[in-house]
Symmetry: C2
Subunit: 191 residues, 2 copies
DNA sequence: CACCTATGCCAACACGGGTTGACTAGCGTG
DNA sequence: CACGCTAGTCAACCCGTGTTGGCATAGGTG
């Protein structure tokens, strides 16, 4: 929709900075990740980061744009919602954790108010609507979505961030079954 | 058991430092909490903190000693384990969050490896044994304990740290019922 | 070619933070 | 009293970090 600005010669550098920033923010969280380290990873001078992204806060905002890409509820058997959702996230986390902004945000949200605020927004914009579409009673949708969040964020935290042995070592299939059952109950079970 | 060392005149100051440290670490996490701020809260000079606790890492270690005080499984009806456990933690979080080291550790574990490591130890030392005592099959105990951790830490994160509206606003009773059912299934349900 | 803008580096500033060491006041004991 | 130990302050060091401004250089354009 926005008319694309003319391509600049520095586009490659911009992209490289963003790549490095995502990796550092994902690995270290907002505070520990330093502009200098990001610049070094990108192979350029720290001042370039400032020129292209203004300041650290804006760089973080640019680096962390979370799209959950939740599967369309309409195309899923109603009794498979839980398993499908859990499988979706486990698959998402299988590859390079660097490029899952959700994990970056989760890490940073523990100590950074801005990150926490953005995580709440994502919940409201991307999770709550799905719950609303799926839940039997719209009045219950918010609570149900919240319960799902406790389980899914807890899973993300234990498996990907804390690396709690039994959870980190479990096979995806196993988790899909057991955690999926919980999510399913939170979404469609009797409240 | 350890022979108590003779009381020193500085004991009050030591305690005050610890109190301030707990509050700051709880509010800000390990990195954002500064020695200077802790010292100011305690009404003394930063160098005193170093004298009495060595360095920031050791101060953190001293400030954050987590005892979950899990209720004795033997005294609880087998089918009320989940609800009892959830109620136990909700009650724990009701008061001043400053004095729940678990929340402090959870906050810091997201970005600090030492904190994460200690959280894993607490899990192994205090949670896993309970699961072992309660679970039908000892071979499954570790996984079951891990699943419980995903749900309980997720609840702590969403309610106390992220303050996700639907979860933060929910009444304890409601959470005890729904989350309790999940924990119960993880502990004693069919795997 | 001459000019100008975009791109990049370098050096430095300002600030905050952990940490250190010298120095001072209080208190008890021989 | 004199001595020594303890509790505490003060000032400074040293490092890392976000951020800034000036300078060089390269590409494109008249």
């Amino acid at each position: 929709m926005t008319s694309t600005p003319p391509p600049r010669r520095s586009d490659a550098t911009r992209a490289e900075i963003l790549r490095a920033a995502r990796a550092r923010f994902a690995a270290d969280g907002y505070q520990r990740a330093t502009i200098r380290a990001i610049a070094a990873d990108a192979g350029i001078d720290p001042s370039m980061v400032m020129r292209y992204y203004g300041n650290k806060t804006q760089l973080f905002a640019a680096a962390v744009d979370v799209h959950l890409h939740l599967p369309d509820a309409a195309g899923i058997p109603r009794d498979k919602l839980g398993e499908t959702l859990v499988a979706h996230f486990l698959k998402r986390w299988e590859g390079d954790p660097t490029d899952d902004a959700l994990l970056t945000l989760l890490r940073s949200a523990a100590t950074d108010d801005d990150a926490a605020s953005r995580l709440r927004e994502i919940f409201a914009a991307q999770v709550a609507p799905v719950a609303l579409a799926v839940c039997p009673d719209p009045a219950e949708a918010a609570l149900r979505a919240g319960l799902v969040a406790t389980q899914m964020l807890g899973l993300a935290f234990c498996r990907q961030i804390l690396r709690l042995p039994p959870v980190a070592a479990a096979t995806p299939d196993l988790l899909v079954v057991h955690v999926g059952a919980t999510v399913q109950r939170y979404l469609t079970g009797r409240l």
